[in-house]
């Protein structure tokens, strides 16, 4: 199987950026990381086709080896649709989290924190989040 080196390099770069973004606390960056990882995975499936060939439209004059394998393209189409649907849902969740808690980050589990230090009162975050952890504009007043 021959694969294109360029595609492999692009895929690795996408995966690397995706892992970096997924490990961030900011939810918007996590979403971007997920999108990159989804595209990298789709690229991985495309790479698995091997060398590209003719469009897979049946013609008796053409030998079967000349065609591109159509199955991974079908898989990628399904995967793209799923990724699209899920990322829009995740975007809605992030927006909801911003509206409710003015928070754009992965917060600690309140019960875990309480368990760790006895009964600790967890203050709800009232002020605007730190500039380093959010991608939303600062001047927006939280609406409840």
């Amino acid at each position: 199987m021959t694969v294109s080196l360029v595609l492999v390099i692009v895929m690795s770069a996408l995966y690397a950026c995706a892992v970096y973004l997924l490990l961030e606390r900011s939810l918007t960056r996590v979403l971007l990381g997920f999108l990159l990882a989804g595209n990298a995975t789709n690229l991985l499936i495309i790479i698995m086709v091997g060398e590209a060939g003719l469009a897979p439209i049946f013609d008796p004059a053409i030998a079967p080896e000349e065609y591109t394998d159509p199955l991974p393209q079908a898989l990628v189409l399904t995967a793209i649709v799923i990724t699209f649907a899920v990322s829009s849902f995740l975007l809605a969740l992030i927006y909801r989290s911003w509206r409710l808690a003015n928070a754009d980050d992965v917060s600690d589990d309140a019960d875990d924190v309480a368990l760790r230090g006895g009964a600790v009162l967890i203050e709800a975050e009232e002020t605007a989040p730190e500039a380093s952890t959010t991608d939303f504009p600062h001047e927006t007043e939280p609406q409840r």
């Binding site: 199987m1 997924l22 939810l27 996590v30 997920f34 990882a37 989804g38 995975t41 991985l44 499936i45 790479i47 698995m48 091997g50 199955l71 991974p72 898989l75 399904t78 995967a79 799923i82 649907a85 899920v86 849902f89 995740l90 969740l93 992030i94 909801r96 989290s97 409710l100 808690a101 992965v106 917060s107 589990d109 309140a110 019960d111 875990d112 309480a114 368990l115 009964a119 009162l121 709800a124």
Partner: protein
């Protein structure tokens, strides 16, 4: 009879469409939802009988033969899982209908609850009957997407917070699964499970182990195997009680189901079995210790859920017929018991207004029915004879003892210890929430005052008590009856699990089911 195979997917899917059409009329919507699950249960029972008597059923979708088309397969394991899931999903649906009726539908937006719940059912069924890896991925996605909606139902702050963790972790596991499908396709040129099993020996051992580990990590996240179990106790307890019950009972077990398929059909070799056994031991112990430390009933139950996943992984990791059979019986037992316990926790929440054991007491006197409905599954989960939990653990320990090395005996010791720790955690709940008198609760005030004063202190607020509708109690009692029936009819159920385990002794039966003409292990022309 093969016509019944796609029906297990189609019935809940059509039901979901109809409930969506009837969105503004709660009464027909509930009737449609319950009817489709009853029909599903009937189909599952017929399938189980048929498969057990005659043999596995294969449906070639669209008439395309196996390596080119999609196949749906129902063997004994799949049929058994379909029946148990249908029972559990039906009981949980009845419970939530009871809750919705009592609350006047203001807490749960029923117009989307029922369709989403039925689509979750569809995803579960697709995962059980899938004959190729990509179809399994699609099944997982269907059930995960509907579970994202259910776990954030109502969109309150705590549910969004928990939901985000759950969604992101599930997404990562799905992408890992998709990437491993891509690698398997690149290496073997197929995604049909039976054909993968035929060709897998042609790969070098290191590539095999790489693919094996990728699949195990993807399914391990879904099944909540330590150290990939961190997300579960955070995200499950905040969801509405019936949703948590269905998730806790079913969703992790579908991960275990996929691991069974991987270990028995795709990679039957013993290379990773010792590693899996160590992970099983760690899952058991870490989960049980977490359960002991918690103070909220739903979180205690979530941690026991993690710890008992370890028992199932142990059975699978043995790689013997006895081990697989014991794991299958244990899955059936655990789906039923864990769901029952979460339903009972939902009843406790209604009766006492909280699930925090430091805030409630005296329930044995004030709600004796709930006390009985909690105690029986709690003893069952703890492995007290003669309940099914004891029988399942006994089967697992016997299968483990046959292996006979130091690791096996360490696992038996760990399993017995974890069983006691589970019992300790649950009896602590019993002593504090049910057995002590309500006056003994520290700083006990009137419940209304308490809910006002303590609400900001904890995520588990005392939200006031409400009367418990009969329908909720009845569905929980029905589940308790099913769990007791698993004890009474342990012989026949264990026999089915045993025959299912024999079918999974290596990939040959599975391959012959899909490719009846080909010789065992031979390549299809």
């Amino acid at each position: 009879m093969t016509a019944l195979v796609p029906l297990v997917v189609l019935v809940p899917l059509l039901g979901a469409a109809l409930t969506l059409v009837a969105g503004r009329r709660p009464r027909p919507q509930r009737a449609i939802a319950i009817t489709s699950l009853v029909v599903l249960l009937a189909i599952g029972a017929v399938l189980l009988w048929q498969v057990d008597q005659v043999g596995p059923l294969v449906m070639e979708v669209g008439g395309w033969a196996a390596p080119y088309g999609i196949v749906l397969i129902v063997d004994r394991l799949a049929a058994l899982m379909i029946v148990v899931s249908a029972v559990v999903l039906l009981a949980v649906l009845v419970f939530s209908v009871g809750q919705g009726l009592a609350d006047g539908d203001d807490e749960t937006p029923v117009s989307i609850y029922n369709p989403t719940y039925l689509i979750l059912t569809t995803g579960v069924m697709v995962a059980f009957v899938a004959g190729d890896l990509f179809n399994l991925y699609v099944g997982f996605e269907i059930l995960l997407v509907s579970s994202y909606v259910l776990i954030t139902l109502g969109g309150t702050e705590s549910r969004i917070r928990a939901g985000v963790t759950y969604v992101v972790v599930s997404l990562v596991s799905s992408l890992l699964f998709l990437a491993s499908i891509a690698m398997i396709y690149g290496a073997l040129g197929t995604v049909t499970i039976a054909q993968i099993a035929q060709r897998i020996d042609e790969l070098p051992v290191d590539v095999q182990i790489l693919l094996h580990v990728m699949l195990l990590v993807a399914f391990g996240i879904k099944a909540a195997v330590f150290p990939l179990s961190f997300w579960l106790p955070d995200s499950y307890p905040t969801a509405p009680a019936p949703v948590t019950a269905a998730f806790a009972g079913l969703l992790t077990k579908i991960g275990v189901y996929a691991i069974i398929r991987v270990e028995t059909v795709i990679f039957p070799g013993p290379e990773l079995n010792p590693a899996l056994m160590v992970l099983a031991l760690l899952t058991m112990i870490v989960g049980a210790l977490g359960a002991v430390a918690q103070a909220d009933i739903k979180r205690i139950l979530s941690f026991t859920l993690v710890s008992h996943i370890g028992y199932m992984i142990l059975g699978v990791a043995l790689g013997t017929v006895e081990g697989t059979a014991a794991a299958i019986y244990y899955i059936v037992h655990h789906i039923v018991v864990q769901t029952t316990l979460f339903l009972a926790a939902g009843l406790i929440e209604r009766e006492a207004g909280s699930t925090s054991i430091s805030r409630i007491g005296g329930l044995a006197a004030s709600a004796p029915v709930v006390a009985a409905l909690f105690l029986i599954p709690a003893l069952n989960l703890g492995g007290i004879p003669p309940f099914s939990g004891f029988l399942g653990k006994l089967g697992l320990f016997q299968a483990t003892a046959e292996q006979g090395d130091a690791l096996a005996y360490a696992l038996i010791a760990g399993g017995a210890l974890v069983s006691l720790l589970t019992l300790y955690a649950l009896i602590r709940v019993w002593n504090l929430a049910f057995w002590r008198s309500a006056d003994a609760v520290e700083g006990d005030q009137s419940r209304l005052l308490r809910s006002v004063e303590e609400a900001p202190l904890s995520t588990s607020t005392v939200s006031g008590t409400r009367s418990t509708p009969r329908l909720m109690t009845a569905s929980t009692a029905g589940m308790v009856a099913v769990s007791v029936a698993l004890t009474v009819f342990a012989g026949p159920v264990y026999a089915i699990a045993d025959r299912a385990g024999q079918n999974l002794d290596g990939p040959s039966v599975y391959i012959q089911t899909v490719f009846p003409s080909s010789a065992e292990g031979g390549e299809l022309e």
